[in-house]
């Protein structure tokens, strides 16, 4: 495992035909943090992740450790140790769980290894199978997995890819309570060795597992801090006014509304 690195975003701007989806975001994620990005729909959370991973063009600066990421192609950013998942789990449905993980582990493989058959299970793959709890399903086609299992497989793919920064887009959407709990514990374990950023609408989940929180609104960072600090921030309460009558969506009572939205 290489050493932990943090993410340092400065004046990040993304616009689509004049619409500023991300409008001057400054964001620091400490090495080994488990950061949650929250905010109403359209706040620019996913676009921010898209910009960091090279999927959309952006202005400003995104430093991961000492490396500038902006301007690099998607696969090169991935090779610098940054991995992401999508709102809808995208695994290779026709390949087995094992094959999915093996491919994720292999971006650095040489020509000769690629042209040979996979003889055994690489150690990193075996470890990831255990970590995400899919060891028994290793030979099942990924398309037969349940929704939550696909999300875990995706996280497992990021682990074997040995990314140092995980960007997860609503990893617990559609999961049962138990699955959420398991996912949260998994993320806590992962963040001991890697930096994790989670986009989430599920406030219960956020409260249970976030080490720090950034609230995005209209393409800008509205508030940042611990869960308690963010919860106490008046501006955050105002932003969420439209969503919850009480004005404090971060309170337990309002959580179901947020879940539905996700």
């Amino acid at each position: 495992m290489s050493e932990l690195s943090g993410l340092r975003i400065r004046q990040l701007r993304v616009s689509f035909d004049g619409f500023k989806a991300v409008d001057g975001v400054d964001l620091d994620v400490q090495p080994g943090d488990l950061r949650f990005l929250i905010g109403p729909n359209g706040a620019g959370k996913t676009t921010l992740v898209d910009a960091v991973t090279g999927l959309v063009k952006a202005e400003g600066s995104v430093l991961f450790g000492d490396e500038e990421l902006l301007g690099r192609s998607v696969h090169k950013i991935a090779r610098s140790g940054i991995g992401r998942t999508f709102q809808t789990a995208t695994v290779f449905e026709e390949l087995t769980v094992l094959q999915n993980l093996d491919i994720a582990a292999g971006a650095g493989r040489g020509m000769l290894t690629m042209l040979r058959r996979r003889k055994d299970v690489p150690e990193s793959v075996a470890r990831a199978l255990e970590t995400v709890g899919l060891a028994e399903l290793a030979d099942s086609p990924a398309g037969t997995l349940a929704h939550g299992q696909k999300q875990w497989l995706e996280i497992g793919m990021l682990l074997v890819q040995d990314v140092r920064l995980l960007l997860l887009d609503e990893p617990v959407a559609g999961m049962s309570h138990d699955e959420r709990q398991a996912t949260g514990e998994l993320l806590e374990r992962i963040s001991e060795e890697r930096t994790v950023v989670v986009i989430e609408h599920d406030m219960d989940f956020m409260r249970s597992f976030a080490r720090s929180v950034s609230v995005l609104h209209a393409g800008k960072v509205l508030s940042e801090g611990t869960v308690a600090e963010v919860q106490a921030d008046r501006r955050v309460q105002e932003v969420y006014l439209g969503h919850a009558a009480a004005g404090d969506v971060l309170d337990t009572a309002a959580a179901p509304a947020a879940v539905q939205e996700a």
Partner: protein
């Protein structure tokens, strides 16, 4: 939960059993091609089979590029043609003898010596290497341009078609140096052997049969390698592969270039088998025919694609002998029916039957299996 999943695990064939079955399949194919076919078929029919096997060699490449890589290669005629012309040019020079021009150049041309780009093909080694390497080189140049620009799907297919048409039209325009519409015809010898001798025709057939088995073994290795798994991943979700740190353009390029090399070798061996190569054999229609064979047999299955190619080529001969006008319509219909109702081709029927049988066999011990099957 675990219980209901277990049958899925056992359903997936172990690598060991898999390769034993493949070895038996190769042995059976070798017996059929080298033993049964020469005994059972007349010289004329064996010659036709040699021609079909060349089509099957193209299908091996299509299976890799289209079946596994999702690249609808509707322009394999270009590479088939490059291989074929490279071979035919050498054979024409050899037929003419040292110092003489090939016959058609004396008829149509005004040149007194070989055009500069013909001259290297006088060397048999250069010509042989060129039959495979030239198509691969062209595919590498085209492919790196096409895939880096992220040209995909139907656009890729249309572009391939257009290139094929352009190549055929260019050949037709160069009457004095390529034989124009006639192509390079009336090829007599093959590296010193007289092609009019039936014994030598048989030898050409054996060379083609061996080459087909070799290409199938090569494709099988690629399909079952890590690269083969990655290729399927790129086919199914290119964007996802990019986020894993691979450049999908390179992954597709390899399949495209290998398929081109296979088509080139097929074109090269087609020439001694048939004695001619012409623009009509490499244009749009033949390019589509290459794909139809693979589609009907099963593009993702090596054996399916090969048998499909041989079957469709055979049907074309048989049916166009009887009903010359109807063949084209029948062929179009076959393509549409295969793609619409049986996208996996005839090969997918085998899998369906096997799965149904497996489901029935394990129905009693584990009634939960059909659920897993449906998923």
């Amino acid at each position: 939960m675990t219980d209901s999943r277990m049958p899925l695990l056992t359903r997936i064939p172990l690598v060991k059993g898999h390769s034993a079955r493949a070895r038996a399949g190769f042995a059976a194919a070798a017996v059929a091609l080298f033993g049964l076919a020469p005994l059972a078929l007349s010289d004329f029919r064996l010659g036709l089979l040699a021609k079909y096997l060349c089509t099957a060699m193209v299908a091996v490449g299509i299976c890799l590029a289209w079946g596994r890589g999702g690249l609808l290669t509707l322009g394999q005629g270009v590479f088939f043609g490059l291989g074929g012309y490279a071979m035919a040019m050498h054979l024409k020079i050899a037929d003419a003898g040292p110092g003489n021009l090939p016959d058609f150049m004396q008829l149509y041309g005004t040149a007194t010596e070989l055009p500069w780009w013909w001259q290297p093909f006088a060397n048999p080694l250069f010509a042989l290497a060129a039959t495979v390497l030239l198509p691969m080189l062209v595919a590498a140049l085209l492919g790196s341009f096409i895939f880096r620009r992220r040209v995909k799907g139907a656009y890729f297919a249309i572009l391939s078609q257009a290139l094929t048409a352009a190549f055929a039209i260019w050949l037709i325009g160069q009457q004095a140096t390529t034989g124009g519409t006639n192509g390079l015809t009336d090829i007599q010898g093959f590296f010193g052997y007289d092609l009019n001798d039936p014994v030598n025709q048989r030898m050409v057939y054996f060379v083609i049969a061996a080459a087909l088995l070799l290409l199938m073994a090569l494709a099988r290795q690629l399909i079952h390698s890590r690269y083969g798994e990655l290729l399927v991943a790129v086919r199914d979700s290119e964007e996802r592969v990019r986020f894993l740190g691979y450049d999908p353009a390179n992954v597709k390029l390899v399949a495209y270039v290998v398929a081109a090399g296979m088509a080139g070798l097929a074109g090269a061996l087609f020439v001694p088998a048939v004695g001619i190569i012409s623009p009509a054999m490499i244009g749009i229609v033949p390019s589509i025919e290459f794909v139809i064979g693979a589609a009907v047999g099963g593009r993702a299955s090596l054996v399916g694609a090969v048998l499909g190619a041989i079957g469709v080529a055979w049907a074309k001969t048989a049916l166009s002998e009887e009903f010359p006008a109807a063949w084209t319509y029948f062929q179009g219909l076959l393509f549409i029916v295969a793609l619409a109702f049986l996208p996996g081709g005839l090969a997918s029927l085998v899998g369906m039957v096997r799965r149904r049988r497996a489901a029935r066999a394990s129905e009693e011990p584990s009634p939960a299996l059909p659920v897993g099957e449906a998923a």
